[in-house]
């Protein structure tokens, strides 16, 4: 799971796909996940990292992460 290399991501979590002209904005946690994806972290590493910093139900996090990355794939952000 990798962010396509031509996708521009700002520190604020604003994404721009230069091949389609589409742009998206995410909230804080979305922005953190994208930043971890950019560092080539695996799903389990991302879950570890987020669980460390937030008080969150692990199962819920796994489900939300799957939904979020599915969305990123649909929008051609993820390879």
């Amino acid at each position: 799971m990798r962010i396509r290399k031509n996708i521009a991501v700002s520190d604020e979590g604003f994404l721009f796909n230069p091949a389609t002209g589409d742009s998206f904005s995410t909230n804080g946690i979305g922005s953190e996940i994208i930043s971890l994806l950019k560092q080539d972290k695996s799903t389990s590493e991302i879950i570890e990292e987020i669980s460390k910093n937030y008080d969150v139900d692990r199962l819920l996090l796994e489900r939300d992460l799957e939904e979020f990355t599915g969305l990123l794939k649909d929008y051609s952000i993820l390879e």
């Binding site: 031509n6 521009a8 721009f16 230069p18 091949a19 389609t20 002209g21």
Partner: protein, 347 residues
């Protein structure tokens, strides 16, 4: 001191379905490599560009394209006597035929143009586009040319709904049934006449590409753009430059194959599985051409340089993610100005 180039430009109708003239002039004026005097050539007294005196130095009315080449030539001769034109940049599809036909005669007067050859111009015509695509290996939607309404029923043997009903110069309507196709046929016929083009509907993302060819097969500039905001007339009110090697390659192949001279716009439908279909080729700059200057490849200024005999190297880079947003602006003028153009044909 730089030599002043006198350039005549048409299509000053900067309205909701705008002609490219004002954008072309703006891009030319942005270039600091030459001094220019801009002569506007207008068809109607209320084309907004006529009244933009910071862009257009003087305007002359010219006869409608339906008047033919003789009356156009006579008028251009008069304008040339007054202004000593160096170059004419026509920007309307409907007038290009006359200007191409007059190219050699204008050249004899010392007036340059930078237009495609007549065969290049005709090969990409809407009515021959399918044939053109087949010949040169471009993906192009299938179409049927209808010369009368009763052919519509027969067309259903070859094309399935939805189809795109198109006028020979402008207008396109998507029809999902015979009734809708008939209604669109009649509406477009009333406006643009016959024939009517029935085109296979291709689902995908619409991309527009502005390209400039040197006439020797080299693409000097290629800028792909996606419309971000579309008016009810299907015109881009905002758009963004894209990075897509496949689209750039497509435009390069088009320029190489046709040895296109001048500006053009490819209307492309990129299907979900990434196939680029050429839907239409407009034989002139698009109305959004100023974006090419904004993205670092000033196509109108490069055209001027080439037309004036300068060798222009192909651009290598442009800025991706540059956005244009069109806006409406109420220009205040006086009845005296309107009287000059509508009464004397000059402003």
């Amino acid at each position: 001191m730089k030599k002043q180039i006198v350039i005549a430009v048409t299509a000053l109708n900067a309205i909701d379905s705008p002609g490219p003239g004002v954008a072309v002039i703006r891009a030319i004026r942005d270039c600091k490599d030459f001094d220019v005097k801009i002569i506007g050539l207008s068809y109607e007294a209320l084309e907004p560009g006529l009244y933009m005196h910071d862009l257009v130095d003087k305007t002359y009315q010219i006869p409608y394209p339906s008047g033919g080449t003789d009356s156009l030539y006579a008028r251009l001769l008069y304008i040339h006597e007054q202004e000593k034109l160096d170059l004419i940049i026509p920007n309307f599809d409907a007038e290009l035929y006359n200007f191409i036909k007059l190219r050699d005669k204008l050249n004899e007067l010392g007036i340059r143009t930078f237009l495609p050859e007549l065969n290049q111009f005709e090969a990409r015509d809407k009515m021959k586009l399918f044939e053109f695509g087949q010949k040169h290996g471009f993906l192009v939607p299938e179409d049927k040319i209808l010369h009368e309404l009763r052919e519509l029923k027969k067309m259903e043997d070859d094309l399935e709904y939805p189809i795109v009903v198109k006028g020979k110069f402008y207008d396109a309507v998507i029809a999902r049934s015979y009734d809708q196709a008939e209604k669109a046929f009649l509406k477009i016929m009333a406006k643009w006449g016959l024939p009517i083009i029935m085109q296979e509907f291709i689902k995908g993302t619409e991309i527009n590409i502005a390209a400039l060819g040197d006439g020797e097969g080299n693409a000097i500039s290629i800028i792909p753009m996606r419309k971000l905001y579309i008016t009810d007339k299907g015109k881009a009110w905002a758009g963004i430059t894209l990075e897509d090697d496949k689209l750039v390659e497509l435009a390069r192949k088009f320029i190489e194959t046709t040895r296109w001279r001048g500006g053009c716009e490819l209307e492309v439908m990129l299907t979900d599985d990434g196939k680029p279909y050429i839907m239409e080729v407009n034989p002139r700059f698009p109305a959004w051409i100023y974006l090419t200057a904004g993205a670092g490849q000033n196509q109108p200024a490069s055209l001027v340089k080439m037309a004036m005999g300068e060798k222009v190297e192909p651009f290598k880079t442009y800025e991706v993610g540059k956005i244009f947003i069109r806006y409406a602006w109420d220009l205040i003028t006086d009845i005296k100005e309107f009287q000059l153009i509508s009464g004397n044909g000059e402003l």
